[in-house]
């Protein structure tokens, strides 16, 4: 028995001191290999009598199993140490910038247009489109702006040159989105609610004017829509658009040929350190023009102005984009400077939706 416990002790030391896979394998072979010491001892069992064998057998088997387990454990230890030292050597410079991928951007005019659509769609407004080259009729006449009326001169209209032999009246670049009102009312010939965003053109270029800019037209026609409804809609719009708790609007009498009564709309705001705050303060800022659709306009599209009434308004998209996002210069909108596009642009993920809040900030 002593012999076996000696053997055990010896191998415990050997296993523990084996520090590589191959040294451990040597120990295993020495102990458990075909000619290993334990194997040899097992072989001796055959020469023993029954009694001896029954006493010695289990001892040897237990030893064999113990050694096996110890070797396995030691093997795991060795692997663990190896892995630890490998990992320790695998230092990597994680400060390095990641792989470049394109940072696309949505133009603020697009983003704001989609914000406006999101808001008005929740009030049941559809989106209507119309041509940018327009006839005199849709841009002016149908909107109660007769040919020689001084109001027409105020638009700085661009004209499309016609064929030399073409006797038809020249077309214009639409000076406002209002012609879409006419086209839409002609189409539906009854109650409707639409907005019509898009490009408009006026021959004017200076610090605050560009010959092309963007407007969104609004139109709601029914039998009972009043100017008070218009005010509510605009208040709701401004509150949602500027993402503030409350807004205050002030209607100021004005004149547009296609609305009667007409009002310019101011919004309460403050300017502190050149920062605009909507909904507070003591300043008023003009943001849009509006009014009740002129009976002559309704008649022009064949609607009975005794039965139908409604409101219309027009907002400068670029302008409200500048106000909301603090973009200083209108001309920069159309310059396509990559730095500007990245700075003021929006990620493709920023699809405006009311349920998530219009903008992510």
């Amino acid at each position: 028995m002593n012999e076996i416990s000696e053997l055990r002790k010896r191998y415990l030391v050997l296993i523990n001191s084996a520090d590589t896979d191959s040294a451990l394998e040597d120990v295993r072979i020495k102990a458990l290999g075909k000619k290993g010491e334990i194997a040899l001892k097992m072989r001796e069992l055959g020469k023993m009598n029954m009694e001896q064998r029954q006493a010695q057998g289990p001892v040897l088997n237990a030893l064999k199993e113990e050694i096996n387990n110890l070797i396995k454990t030691q093997k795991d230890n060795i692997e663990g140490q190896l892995l630890d030292s490998r990992v320790a050597s695998e230092w990597m410079d994680i400060s390095c910038s990641t792989r470049l991928s394109g940072g696309g951007s949505v133009h603020p005019v697009t983003q704001v247009t989609e914000e406006v659509i999101a808001i008005f769609s929740s009030l049941g407004f559809k989106v209507a489109d119309g041509p940018q080259v327009e006839s005199d009729y849709y841009n002016f006449d149908a909107l109660n702006i007769p040919p020689e009326h001084p109001a027409r001169q105020e638009f700085d209209t661009f004209y499309i040159s016609g064929d030399e032999d073409d006797q038809t009246p020249s077309n214009v670049l639409r000076t406002h989105t209002s012609p879409v009102q006419i086209r839409h009312m002609q189409q539906v010939n009854g109650p409707c609610r639409i907005i019509a965003p898009g490009r408009v053109f006026r021959s004017d270029y200076d610090q605050t004017h560009t010959p092309m800019f963007h407007q969104v037209e609004g139109l709601a026609i029914d039998t009972d829509i009043s100017m008070a409804n218009l005010k509510w809609v605009l208040e709701e719009f401004c509150r949602a658009f500027f993402e503030v708790e409350t807004v205050q609007l002030r209607f100021r009498s004005s004149h547009f040929p296609f609305t009667e009564p007409s009002a310019e709309v101011d919004i309460r705001c403050s300017w502190v350190d050149n920062q605009l705050k909507i909904g507070e303060g003591n300043d008023w800022m003009e943001i849009l023009g509006s009014g009740m659709v002129h009976p002559k306009v309704l008649e022009a599209v064949g609607l009975d102005s005794d039965k139908y009434q409604g409101f219309a308004f027009g907002v400068g998209i670029d302008r409200i984009a500048m106000l909301k996002y603090g973009i200083p210069d209108l001309r920069s909108f159309f310059d396509s400077d990559l730095r500007w596009l990245r700075h003021f642009g929006f990620s493709g993920n920023d699809y405006p939706a009311l349920h998530s809040g219009l903008s992510k900030f």
Partner: protein
């Protein structure tokens, strides 16, 4: 329009503070653009008296003055020639701001003598350009009192914007009437007595047939003899100067005064320059006139003129002629007050580009019932100021006015505007504005005053009522939803597609631009192809003369600007309208984009590369795919690609032979050069509306087929002619063993000089990975071998390829 507070008070009795008047004006729709109150800047100047004036010891032109002021006697050095003992002057003390010099004065030392202040000229107070001497005040002015209290002429000037529907507010009287209706004061009664003439005018008026009905229905005139056309009196000059007009002579100033006071333009002819009868007629084509502005105008047969003999003396309602203009020696005059048609006045004025105060009023519509009163009003002023003897008034034609009556349903104010205004108040407002109101049942029968040509219908009356009541009091009322329940989608399929396509392109790393819809002529020609260019009749600059036929030129110009700022790696796109005709609707929505420079710049991962055709192709593929069209199923044609593309490196994606959905490729080097760009440039154009919309929405997806059996990948390498398209090889590979060949993907193309050395002239090698999917049981080696052989033979047959050994 400008006017002063004292002028307003001629018509309006009011004690209201200026700020309240300003608020009321704006609220009425007479938007105040500016108010200038000269007393604010002059408040600190006081009255002084020079008690002693002696020659400066060291300067010939300077005097050392002792000036009595409210703070005692001060020594002030003064260079004005009129500085002398005994006069009352305007004194500024050290520390005071001098508006005309834009400086604060200090205690000075002028050539060795100290000076404690300054005596001011009119220019230094910004009252006028007068700088020949210092201001001499009335001798009764008290020393030490405020200068502003001494001077009556300092008047608050209002500048208001008048909307085109309010010709009546182009005179101070009209503004006063509005304010009175709003409760700012009381409109003063104005009687304009008839001025009786003592003789018959030696000059008669003839309205020719061609103007009688339309262009000049009414003309009043009278002869005044023996006038003295001197300088206007001070009050009149001050009024005109305050509103920015230059006083000329009493006669001219009086007509200007009446124009701004009562919106009644007038004209005065020097009668001695006229030859007999004045005829109002259409001009003969080519007739000319040298007008009072010194310019010569050539007239057309549409213009209305006033002529005498054969000479055109005036362009009706716009500007008088030099020939019969009044000067200092004018003795006898003919005074004109007429009604000229708004439309023809506007047309002539616009064509001749003459902007005059008269035109401005005539084209908006003057009060037809004030033609005769206007002449009496002006006559009285002329007699008072210039003297003279007056003829009887000649009146030709008929007053172009018939009473307009509009029915107002009082409850309509509430139903249209949403404001409850009592009927009595509605009536009060209308009457205050000059309307005549009578009752019939529950309705108001409203007669429109002659000075309101803009009022036609009920809505116009409602506007009058609410603007006087103040729209700022309007309270919002919720708009009822047009349908209950969950909101329905509002975008049309096209609107949706445009929005999705934009964000699809952004997701591919491109930056959205918005460029002007107009471009220069050269660009228009380069990108129009066979389509006619669309030019503007009145472009704003030579860079913006044509409507864009393509989005690319705008983007190329943007790229050029960016390159000039050293921004060289560009992926720019735009989604917007292009134009192919001059008529409404001849426009299309395109998505266009360009890639220039590096797709990815130099970086640590070594994947920097220049942009290539496949960047552009990728956008086309992804967006069309998002629209529900698989590019795999479309043909890519090399023919019929626009000429601005590289002829060998561009294609057009077509659905059938005629319907091109997109183009992509490298732009032609000559285009790159034309835009002075560092190229090459890759580009795409997607014709968004041409892609068909699928008829029915498919929410249910087809069942998924996933095999339990492992697929096998095999690589094949083919040697083909260099101009053999790899897509042809791909199609050959895929064209068989249905269901088994899952995918064929090029993973290597070996071409160029080295390749040709190894493979032979004009050869390249293309390597494909082919993925094979067993259908029922795992492939055996023999099966795989058979499939491979079939693939190879198909490719060889269709492309002439050889398997690379």
């Amino acid at each position: 329009m400008k006017f002063t507070l004292s002028w307003l008070k001629d018509h309006l009795k009011t004690d209201m503070h200026v700020d309240d008047i300003v608020e009321a004006l704006t609220d009425l729709g007479l938007e105040v653009e500016s108010v200038s109150d000269p007393t604010k800047e002059l408040n600190h100047f006081t009255v002084g008296e020079i008690v002693q004036a002696e020659q400066h010891p060291n300067a010939d032109r300077l005097k050392v003055c002792k000036v009595a002021t409210g703070d005692g006697c001060r020594q002030i050095i003064c260079g004005a020639p009129n500085a002398r003992k005994g006069i009352k002057v305007v004194v500024a003390h050290p520390g005071d701001y001098i508006p005309g010099l834009d400086t604060v004065i200090k205690v000075g030392n002028i050539r060795g003598v100290e000076s404690y202040g300054m005596m001011c000229s009119e220019r230094e107070l910004m009252l006028s350009d007068e700088h020949d001497g210092i201001i001499e005040l009335d001798s009764k002015a008290l020393v030490g009192t405020k200068y502003v209290d001494q001077c009556n002429e300092l008047d608050i000037v209002f500048d208001i914007a008048i909307t085109p529907n309010r010709p009546d507010a182009l005179g101070v009287r009209g503004v006063a009437r509005d304010l009175a209706a709003k409760g700012v004061g009381e409109l003063k009664l104005r009687e304009i007595p008839r001025v009786k003439g003592s003789f018959n005018s030696p000059i008669s008026i003839h309205l020719s047939k061609d103007v009688l009905n339309e262009d000049c229905p009414l003309f009043a005139g009278r002869y005044i003899k023996g006038v003295t056309n001197m300088e206007s009196p001070k009050w009149l000059q001050e009024r005109l100067v305050a509103i920015g007009l230059r006083p000329i002579s009493a006669l001219v100033d009086i007509t200007n005064f009446v124009t701004f006071d009562s919106a009644r333009p007038l004209h005065v002819f020097d009668a001695s320059k006229l030859s007999g009868e004045l005829t109002v007629r259409k001009a003969r084509k080519g007739e000319t006139i040298v007008a009072l502005d010194g310019s010569e105008y050539t007239l057309s047969s549409e213009d209305t003129v006033i002529s005498s003999g054969n000479v055109v003396e005036s362009i009706a309602g716009i500007i008088g002629g030099m020939n019969s203009g009044c000067g200092g020696d004018t003795k006898d005059i003919f005074l004109e007050s007429a009604y000229f048609n708004p439309i023809s006045t506007a047309r002539t004025g616009r064509r001749l580009r003459i902007n005059s105060d008269a035109r401005y009023r005539f084209e908006r519509g003057v009060d037809p019932l004030f033609v005769e009163k206007g002449i009496d009003f002006a006559t009285q002023l002329i007699i008072d100021i210039c003297g003279g003897e007056v003829s009887k008034t000649l009146l030709e034609g008929e007053t172009p006015y018939t009473d307009k009556e509009v029915i107002l349903r009082p409850n309509r104010v509430d139903s249209l505007v949403g404001m409850r205004i009592p009927k009595v108040e509605q009536e009060r407002i209308l009457i205050a504005l000059g309307f005549n109101v009578s009752h019939k049942d529950n309705l108001l029968c409203v007669k429109v005053p002659s000075w309101r040509p803009d009022v036609y219908g009920e809505a116009d009356l409602i506007e009058e009522i609410v603007r006087v009541t103040s729209l700022s009091k309007l309270k919002g009322i919720p708009l009822q939803k047009s349908n209950l329940g969950v909101m329905k989608p509002v975008l049309t399929p096209l609107q949706n597609r445009v929005s999705r396509t934009r964000r699809e392109i952004v997701a591919l790393g491109m930056n959205e631009c918005i460029s002007y819809s107009f471009i220069d002529e050269k660009s228009a020609t380069l990108f129009s192809g066979a389509i006619q260019t669309v030019a503007l009749l009145n472009p704003i600059s030579s860079e913006m003369t044509h409507m864009r036929p393509s989005l690319l030129p705008g983007l190329l110009q943007a790229a050029r600007r960016n390159q000039a700022r050293s921004l060289n790696d560009l992926k720019l796109f735009e989604l917007g309208e292009v134009f192919f005709g001059r008529k409404p609707g001849e426009q299309a929505i395109h998505a266009g984009g360009i890639f220039v420079g590096n797709y990815l710049p130099k970086n640590a991962f070594g994947n920097q590369r220049e942009v290539d055709v496949f960047d552009a192709k990728k956008v086309v593929e992804s967006t069309l795919n998002d629209m529900g069209v698989s590019v795999e199923n479309l043909s890519i044609l090399r023919d019929g690609v626009p000429a601005y593309f590289h002829p060998k490196r561009a294609g057009k994606v077509s659905l059938g032979p005629k319907n091109a959905l997109a183009s992509f490729g490298e732009l032609h080097p000559k285009i790159v050069k034309a835009y002075d760009l560092k190229g090459p440039v890759m580009a795409f154009e997607i014709f968004i509306e041409r892609v068909p919309f699928s008829k029915n929405r498919k929410l249910i997806r087809p069942p998924i087929k996933v095999s339990e059996l492992q697929p096998v990948e095999r690589d094949f390498s083919f040697v083909v002619q260099t101009r053999c398209e790899v897509d042809l090889i791909k199609k050959a590979i895929l064209n068989g063993e249905k269901g088994v060949i899952n995918e064929a993907r090029v993973f290597d193309i070996f071409e160029g000089k080295e390749a040709e050395q190894q493979l032979g002239k004009n050869k390249k090698s293309v390597a494909f990975m082919v993925r094979l999917q067993p259908l029922k049981t795992t492939f055996t080696d023999a099966e795989l071998e058979a499939i491979s052989k079939k693939i190879i033979s198909r490719v060889e047959k269709m492309t002439g390829a050889k398997l690379r050994s």
